[in-house]
Structures are given as C-alpha cells and as structure tokens.
Symmetry: C2
Subunit: 292 residues, 2 copies
C-alpha cells in the first residue's frame, strides 16, 4: 500500500532529520527549503523538489513546516507563494516551528476556510532528539486534526500530546522554553563559577548530573561547553526568538517572569557578541565576559 505523500518545508538543523524519519518510514516526500542544498540528502534519498510552498501543497496530502521565525511561517503559509495561495490539494497542515500562539490561531482560521485541518506542533529535544526521532511534541488544534497528525508525528517523536485548540501547542512550548531558559542560566553560571574558583569543571558536570542539579542541559550541553564546542544544536537566534514570543505572551496578560526576562537579556547579549548562529550553550561565553 502506498503511504500518503507528505510535503516538508524547511530542512534546517532540525527539519532535515524529522523529514528523514518520515521518508524512512516509506512516505513519498515533496520538499522545499529556502536553501536548496540543505535538502540534498532528502532529494538523494528519493524526495522530489518543489520550487514554492504552494507547489508543495498542490502535490502533498499533508504538509509539514519547520522554518525559523513567525514571519517565515506567515510567508510560507499565508504569503503570495504560500501553501494557501494556489490550489492546495493537501488536507492537513502541521507547523512544527516554534511560533506565536496568535499566528497559529490565524492559520487555523485561514486553513479551515479552505477545508484544510491545521495543527501547531512545536517540538523539543534539540538536534540530538531530531536525529534520533525522539522529540517531544506539543500539539494544538482540533481533536480531529491532532488525531490525524499523531501517527505521522510519532515517526520523529517519543511523545506527542494535544494541549488544546489552535495555539495551545505553542503555549505549551513556551512553558517548555521558560524551563530551558532557567536550566541554561544555571548550567552556564555554574561552569563560569567552577572555572573561576579553580574547580575541575568536567568533574563537576559528571557529579552534578547524578544529583538534584541533574538536567538535560547538564547532561547534553555541559560536555559541549567543556570541549569549547559551541556549534549549534539549537541556534541562539532561534532561542532568542522563542524567548521574545514568551515575553510578548507574558506582557499580553500582565505577567512578570523575571527569570525569563533575564534569559532574554543574556541571550541578546550572546547574539550581540556574534554568537547568534552558535548553539544555546554559547550563553557560557556571554556570562564569562561578566555582568547582567
């Protein structure tokens, strides 16, 4: 039996792996990406190229998007060459980009008007989770749309849950990123402290990973910082985007979260130091330069 043809838009650090898992499961794939060369491994494995998001939507039954900024999501879905611009043949749109809850609501309305289902499905787990197909997925959308997305999403995730209607997946992802922000500040400040106090930082990471300070950040990014490996698993500029969205959502309801605000300030400084395209562990470098 021929599996449904899927469309995939955005083959960056995360998307290339996620699409690869769907391809490996046997789905014919139509791909589009801003930088065509990044889609090369998928094309070599049999995916076909589409020049525009509209073309993807014309040729695929379900279209996934995994792009950078909310403005990219808007362009790819609602723009002049976007998914909804031509004659979309698809019946479901799954946006895995971490983006604005309000945009997810707007997209849900626009797709519903064309008889297309829509799910906001941002993910967590970084490049390692994407590569291993063990991401966590926060879904928002109608029960029917999420139920249809679930078996596909399962190809690149260990856990996917629906948190509510359109935008709820994005809100849950904000909840996730607020935790990550605190975890990253704690890890990077600790390693700066260790270095300045003359401790063996590698030993510290090894030991704290077994106790009450244990976290994904300690286990996965601690060793990278120790090796001075600041290559991106997750871009500083993308995390900064997420933190900006979370701050906007807090401002909208008059909620003051000082740790989130601090994280945004520190990551902005990290980006200003030229590390926007480094991994989020580059926060260490900004803290090591000193001051809040």
């Amino acid at each position: 039996m021929q599996l449904p043809t899927l469309g995939w838009i955005g083959t960056g650090v995360m998307g290339r792996w996620m699409a690869g898992h769907l391809q490996a499961a046997g789905h014919p794939l139509v791909v589009h990406s801003r930088t065509r060369s990044k889609a090369a491994p998928l094309l070599e494995a049999g995916a076909t190229w589409a020049d525009t998001p509209a073309e993807v939507a014309a040729r695929a039954e379900v279209v996934f998007t995994m792009v950078g900024l909310p403005s990219d999501v808007e362009t790819v879905v609602l723009g002049s060459e976007g998914i909804l611009s031509g004659s979309p043949g698809c019946r479901l749109l799954v946006d895995c980009t971490t983006s604005q809850p309000a945009l997810a609501e707007r997209i849900a309305e626009a797709t519903a008007a064309r008889g297309i289902g829509s799910v906001d499905a941002p993910v967590s787990g970084g490049d390692v989770g994407a590569r291993e197909g063990k991401l966590v997925v926060f879904m928002g959308g109608s029960e029917a749309a999420c139920a249809e997305a679930a078996p596909l999403v399962a190809r690149f995730s260990r856990l996917a849950q629906r948190f509510g209607g359109p935008g709820a997946g994005q809100h849950a992802k904000m909840g996730n990123q607020i935790i990550v922000a605190g975890n990253m500040i704690g890890l990077c400040e600790s390693l700066v402290y260790a270095a300045r106090q003359g401790l063996d930082a590698a030993q510290l990471v090894e030991v704290v990973a077994q106790g009450a300070a244990r976290s994904f950040a300690v286990e996965n990014l601690g060793p990278r910082i120790l090796k001075e490996d600041f290559a991106p698993g997750f871009f500083v500029e993308h995390f900064l985007k997420d933190l900006g969205i979370a701050c906007e959502e807090c401002a909208r309801i008059g909620l003051d979260l000082p740790g989130l605000d601090l994280a945004r300030r520190l990551y902005r400084r990290t980006a200003d130091m030229g590390h926007g395209r480094s991994g989020t562990q580059a926060l260490y470098l900004a803290l090591n330069e000193g001051g809040g």
Copy 2:
C-alpha cells in the same frame, strides 16, 4: 568484627536519614542534635545520646556533622562545647553541612593541629536522596582524609568525589546550587505561565519531563507544586543560606552571576512571605504573586 563507633551531630530533614544508613550498616552511633526529639528514631534503634558535641567527639572514632548554618558548624566544631573543645578521641571529622569554603579551611587547620583529619562533604539529592541513600557528595580535604571518609560516605550516597583540598567540596556544592537555582526559577516560572495561560500544568510537567527541559526539579518538585504540596524536602531558608554563600564567594573574586543574584532575591521574597520553613518549590508562590 565490631565496626568503628561513629558520631552524628544534627538529625534534621536530611541528617536523620544519613545517620540511619550508617546505623543500618552496623556502626554503633553516638548522636547529638539541637532538638533531642528529632534523634528519637536513631535512639530507639540503639544509638546513644550525647549532651554536647564535645561528648560525641570523646566517644566516637569518626564524627559527622549535618547542621544548618555556617555559624552552627562553627559552634559545633569550634565552640566552647564543640568537638575540639575537650579531649576529642576521634580521628576524623566529616562536615556534611553546606557551608563556607573559608570555614572549611579554618576547621581543617584547627583539626590538623589536634592530629585529626577533616573533610568538607556537602551533599545533594534532597530528602528523597537522603532517605534512599542515594545522595551525591562533594568532598574537599587531604587525599588521606577523603579516602578514609569515602567508605562511610558511601553508605548514604550513590557517588562521592574529592574535588581538592579543604573547601573544595563546598565550592563544588556551590556549583551545584547555582544550577539548582536556575532550574527552580525555570520550573516555577513555567508553571505560573501555564496556570495563567489556561494550560493543563500537570500535562505540561509530564511532557516536558521527556524533552530538553527535563530536570530533577521538573520530575521531583513539579508534581509537588501541582498538588500544592509545599512541605520541605529542602528548606527555603537553607537554600537561601547556600545562595548567600555562593554570592559571597562570587563577590570575593569579582564575579557577577545575574541568575544567582535573581534567585537569591526571589528566595528572599519567598522567605519574607513566611515560607522560610517551606520546601524550595514554594518559589512558585512568590512568582505567582508577581514581579522581580
């Protein structure tokens, strides 16, 4: 063969369990605590009571201390009825209190002058880790003293490592607490966000625990916050003491760690709200009241 008699001073939330593991291993125990009733389970299981730390030190071969503040450590070790005040018969002192690195150095000097070994050995893992005998221990002291302490410490720990000379265990513990501070801010802010945005916070905790936001805090304290259980695993006022020591150590070397500073400010507010004797998860209540 009769195992060495051990002294234990301080039978609070953590100490009672740690001492219990040594007792269960067959060591005769001499105990002293500010509040005698808290030593009752150990006494009922065969431990003998001593009226002063000096008396403990006269009757035990190795003395453990697990008290509250650095000033308590100072009193218990160096005070007029302290371990070193009389005729200590012990050959080794192991202080498990999280305390000042400089005090650990002073104690190491004072004990060495009496021919007694000394180890600073603060722990991580909370009440659960203490109860299960799965703490993590950060040791500082001479190689000989740490080697002698290791098999005893192993009775209540899953991992114990020496980080260097006197005070190095305390510095490593500060590194641990700086991470915990960030993790707690992230967790508590996320749950406030979830509540305000109308998300199912229990579902959020369940899902984030599987992804890149995973931490000991999420797994162990998230569920307590959801149940509005603010009973102490680890006292706010003790954590505040730790954060104060860490801030002092940073000030001493001119290091600015803004996340640590924020955590101290927020935990001070938590204590000011009357939650000094609640668990560290009570930070949620302070953040829920708003503002940094």
